[in-house]
């Protein structure tokens, strides 16, 4: 007989692992990815592949040669970052811009802070904002390339872009059912609200995330949108428009809920979500950019340590 193992309790472990959680996020992102490939064609698939390979490869290189420690790519967090990055840029984005984004995401936003679990900012969001500021032309080129469903390339602007340019008249008559199913234009992952919501439901069912952050973002965006709309319906769009357009869904479901860069407690998550929602609406209506979700998430990321200090889970017997 071999030597007996001895350790402190517990002697069992749940099947949960970092790898499994990350895999769940990837699975939850699949519907959105499939829809974007259907709409934008092989090139979109190529972008996703380039992004993932760049992120994973870079993490491997950094752990192996720079930090000289065991590689951490098996936890799949780099795959999630790569996939999110690809879904967060326009489908027309040149591949090398994505590679630069990947270098920023993994190299700067993640590994310089100490790798998974140590980063203050969500790598994919940080990279998206970095690209948006560095390559505004590529990042706001909303030409819709030919895909499997649309066979001709058309130039189009996002609904939010149209609104920023032409005011409320430019978006009049928007068909919401249409935006719910395939809101063409915008970042690659933002096409279908349904696909993103399917991912959200999957994450909730697998108990990967809790709904509070996402719901509080939606709630805040809706309420703030409603207020503005009630004040002046001639100038501001209605709350449904606010919710369904731009990166609200993608950001609130997949980026704001990133474990590392969101608060730990439920109430902290609500505060975090409300902050993101408010900032998003403010940036949209009063900022220089038509869309503000990524900025809002990035700004609120910085507040997470403070929120964690202020909000804690309810303790037993300490009422």
């Amino acid at each position: 007989m071999n030597k007996l193992l001895v350790s402190p309790s517990p002697h069992v472990h749940s099947p949960l692992s970092t790898q499994r959680l990350m895999l769940d996020v990837v699975i939850a992102l699949l519907p959105a990815t499939v829809v974007s490939v259907l709409f934008y064609g092989w090139r979109e698939l190529m972008l996703v592949a380039v992004s993932i390979v760049a992120c994973v490869g870079l993490e491997w290189l950094i752990t192996r040669f720079l930090l000289k420690r065991k590689s951490t790519i098996a936890d799949l967090s780099a795959v999630v970052t790569g996939l999110l990055l690809a879904l967060n840029v326009p489908p027309t984005c040149p591949w090398w811009v994505i590679v630069i984004g990947a270098i920023f995401a993994v190299g700067v936003a993640k590994m310089t802070f100490g790798g998974l679990g140590q980063n203050t900012f969500n790598p994919a969001i940080a990279a998206r904002v970095f690209l948006l500021v560095s390559f505004p032309a590529y990042m706001t080129d909303w030409t819709i390339p030919a895909g499997f469903i649309h066979t001709d390339a058309v130039s189009g602007a996002t609904l939010l872009g149209k609104y920023a340019e032409g005011g409320i008249e430019a978006i009049q008559g928007t068909d919401y059912l249409h935006t719910l199913l395939f809101n063409i234009g915008g970042s690659a992952g933002e096409i279908s609200a349904i696909a993103l919501l399917a991912g959200f439901v999957y994450l909730l069912c697998r108990r990967v995330i809790k709904p509070w952050i996402t719901l509080s973002i939606w709630g805040t965006v809706a309420v703030a949108g409603l207020l503005f709309w009630l004040i002046n319906p001639g100038q501001y769009p209605d709350p449904v428009f606010c919710l369904l357009t731009g990166g609200v869904l993608l950001g609130s479901i997949f980026m704001a809920t990133d474990y590392v860069t969101s608060p730990m407690s439920d109430w902290g998550g609500v505060v975090f979500g409300v902050g993101i929602g408010l900032l998003t609406v403010l940036i949209r209506y009063f900022g220089a950019y038509p869309e503000g979700v990524s900025f809002a998430i990035l700004i609120m990321n910085a507040f997470v340590p403070l929120i964690n200090k202020a909000f804690h889970q309810k303790k037993y017997g300490r009422a």
């Binding site: 071999n2 030597k3 193992l5 001895v6 402190p8």
Partner: protein
Amino acid sequence: MDITIIWTIVVITLLGVTLAAVLFLVARKFRVEEDPRIDEIEKLMPGANCGGCGFAGCRAFADSCVKAGNLDNNFCPVGGNETMKQVAAVLGCAAVEQAPKVAVIRCNGSCANRPKVNEYDGLATCRVKAALYSGDTGCAYGCLGCGDCVAACENDALKMNPETGLPELDEEKCGACGKCVKACPKGVIELRNKGPRGMRVYTSCVNKDKGPAVKKACAAACIGCGICAKTCTHGAIVLENNVAYIDYTKCKLCRECEALCPTGAIHGVNFPKPLDKDAIKARIKARNEKAKEVQE
């Protein structure tokens, strides 16, 4: 455009002057008088802030020295007698000399001497392991091998030897601050006099079990036979709880105990010559015979 530049310069300059004045006044008003000797002594300190003296850091130690006005209760083990002489000069009092010390690891239960009887699967720190059970060898007293002492050492003087599974000490680097002593949950490490030219003799075992049980657990353990205590002519060895303890203040480094120890649990280190067991045994024999003659 020009006006803007001029205004900028004027405002910045004014701001600078005002702030400088405020700072100057505040610094004068709230100045804290401190004995300059504290700074002086702090500079003489090794600066490791190891806490070996019993104070939070070197400055706290310097503060205590100045406040006491003497060095009766203050000693920096890392700086040693040299440093303390300099401190004494600053304070104008007598230095209290202490024999330099060194950390001694009193366990020889290497993987070869002390086979493992189970496999520890918990967090690899001695503290957790010690709280859980008697350890993964048959010996419940010796080194647990998870390196809490190594982690505690700020002078980088301790290293785990993967072959023996025991920590090893770099005497040059050891400042005898006693952190490892505190870190070891089994009390294996002791601060002992360094000895002349580093020569010292000690029992490399702390197992309190009785002979047969000890022998079963470890091949190099002290079995408490007491031969060393009987032989020692300096009264330096006491047998307590089945372990021979060598009092370093009494030991004369004759190495007789080391030669006689049946399990090799007594170690002599830094001696210029290797141990000549036969010569020592002959010497003891001659002495015993002489004693017998005298008695008769």
